[in-house]
């Protein structure tokens, strides 16, 4: 089985979110970038397929050279090789187009994405990629097993879960549940040393038109101070929720 894990290079959760150039660009100054958490659960599941079922695991990112440390980290975790499509990731559809080309060229059977990136939260690349490839697609996937070309998966639905069977080629939008937090691997020194020697191939993008463009960003209005209610006066809390917030 040939697995492709799509990796987004995103600001660490604790990053301060600021914008530059008249609020049109994300300010990367001082920001630590990481593997998108939803992708990391998928990468870790891919490592399981590599170890137990002899799958090959390639990681891919669409982005500029600044994203390579994130790909190297994925190699240090255990991916066999990496591909960087050399174009900025600006629009979900364009990214899906670039990834579709990588899948077609590489003949991957299983494409593991995260359900969404924690920066733009578009949540569209996995589905669009599946749509472009005419492959089967499971979103919010929380469990995945593959036997030959048959896959059994569980997806999260509102208020529960659903078990499905399908076949490869398959694209998933994965999340926590594929593996648990405690299964995530921190690269060890040997992994980091080996990652330096693993192939990281840079490929040029295919021509595509963006369907969307970011016009600008806004930050939410600063929040007012919390209104503290004494634990001896909970009637006041009920009153505030009813008369001020009007939510009960």
């Amino acid at each position: 089985m040939k697995i492709l894990v799509c990796i987004s290079h995103v600001p660490d959760t604790t990053s301060k979110i600021n914008f530059t150039e008249n609020d049109t660009k994300f300010d990367t100054n001082g920001v630590q970038f990481v593997i998108n958490p939803n992708d990391e659960f998928g990468l870790t599941r891919a490592m399981w397929f590599q170890e137990k079922q002899g799958a090959s695991v390639t990681v891919v990112n669409v982005g500029g050279p600044e994203t390579e440390p994130t790909l190297r980290k994925a190699l240090a975790i255990g991916a066999d090789d990496a591909i960087r499509v050399n174009t900025p990731a600006t629009d979900g559809f364009s990214v899906a187009k670039q990834l579709a080309k990588v899948v077609e060229d590489g003949g991957y059977d299983l494409i593991i994405c995260g359900r969404e990136s924690i920066d733009y939260n578009g949540g569209m690349v996995p589905g669009m990629l599946a749509g472009l490839l005419k492959a089967n697609f499971i979103n919010k996937c929380i469990s995945l097993d593959v036997d030959g070309t048959t896959a059994k998966a569980v997806r999260e639905i509102d208020g529960g879960k659903e078990t499905v069977t399908t076949s490869l080629p398959l694209v998933i939008g994965g999340q926590k549940g594929l593996v648990e937090e405690s299964d995530l691997k921190i690269p060890n020194m040997r992994g980091i040393m080996m990652a330096r020697k693993k192939p990281l191939n840079v490929v040029e993008p295919v021509a595509t038109d963006a369907e969307t463009s970011s016009v600008k960003f806004e930050k939410p209005a600063p929040k007012g101070d919390v209104k503290l209610v004494s634990p001896d006066n909970l009637d006041e809390l009920v009153n505030l929720l009813h008369n001020e917030a009007k939510v009960i």
Binding site: N121, K216, P220
Partner: protein, 319 residues
């Protein structure tokens, strides 16, 4: 040219978000000088959408659509969009809608904006405001395609009545084959889900153990709320993973979010910040959650929560 809205139903009943996206579609249609067409699958009373401004309902009755299937549903909605020559398609941010939307976008060559929080900033050029950076910022996004697909963030627009006489038409689409077969669905039908709830009551490690959740469930019961929990609680196995809310768990966009014994780690806040009002109950006045909350009670959850339940019961009895 009408705005097409996909209205999700479950066992024949429209979900609340169906009315919210209908309300939203009506506002977009007004801004564009056109009407609203809805598409619904196996709904018992499709004309109910008229209350929220829908002019026409394409009513599909087909057992093949009884179980959700993203690619099949996307295909049927595509047929409807093509029949109506719709340039704007509106849906919600439910798990199912977020699943099918990107497939539909590819089928229709439509630009897609998810997590949209208000009516379009402008319709020419077509620009919408959406949540990004896990609720830490808004993005103004321009959709440059002929057909536009909008996913409305749940609870962001609300329900707006706009009594209209909705014309119900039978719609008999072709149902394509699917490569995905649903084997089983595991869903508690008697409980309000985190996605659908107006109010969510959530608790964290401050509760000390799973045996103490009775009062959280009771508080949720009194309020008709869904229950949720923080990540450590689900990692410890005190509560099921399906209750975990936060960045890597479920997102919450409720009208009211009550956090009991949750310190408010940034990953947690990121996931719940889209909620309109937040109440925190915690014995540590330095807990970061107090900076993110609207109302706070510094006190022992084991004393505050039972009292709050009694106060709320009394309040409900008066209503």
């Amino acid at each position: 040219m009408s705005v097409l809205v996909y209205t999700e139903s479950e066992q024949g009943k429209f979900k609340k978000i169906a009315f919210e996206v209908s309300s939203y579609a009506k506002a977009v249609a007004d801004a564009m000088g056109t009407s609203v067409t809805a598409i619904s699958f196996n709904a018992d009373d499709p004309s109910a959408l008229g209350t929220y401004g829908v002019n026409k309902v394409l009513n599909v009755k087909n057992d093949a659509l009884k179980t959700f299937n993203a690619s099949v549903y996307a295909d049927v909605i595509k047929e409807a969009a093509q029949q109506e020559d719709s340039k704007v398609i509106v849906m919600s941010s439910s798990a199912n809608d977020k699943y099918l939307a990107p497939l539909l976008a590819v089928d229709l060559n439509a630009g897609y904006a998810s997590n949209v929080v208000e009516t379009p900033v402008s319709t020419a050029p077509f620009q919408v405001k959406r949540n990004a950076f896990t609720n830490k910022a808004f993005e103004i996004l321009e959709l440059k395609t002929d057909v536009k697909l909008i996913g409305v963030s749940n609870n962001s627009f609300g329900l707006h009545e706009n009594n209209t006489d909705a014309k119900v038409e039978d719609f008999s689409p072709e149902i394509p084959e699917s490569g995905i077969k649903v084997e089983s669905v595991d869903k508690a039908t008697d409980k309000v889900t985190i996605a659908d709830a107006d109010i969510v009551v959530s608790a964290g490690r401050g509760l000390k153990g799973p045996e103490n959740w009775g009062m959280i469930e009771e508080l949720a019961d009194v309020l008709g709320a869904a229950t949720a929990c923080s990540k450590p609680v689900s990692d410890l196995g005190w509560r099921p993973h399906s209750e975990h809310v936060g960045q890597t768990g479920k997102p919450v966009a409720a009208n009211l979010y009550i956090a009991v014994g949750i310190s408010g780690a940034i990953q947690h806040l990121a996931g719940i910040n889209a909620s309109k009002y937040k109440v925190v109950i915690n014995n540590d006045p330095e807990a970061p959650f107090f900076k993110a909350a609207d109302y706070g009670v510094v006190g022992d959850a084991f004393e505050v929560v039972p009292q709050l339940i009694e106060k709320l019961k009394a309040f409900k009895a008066q209503q």
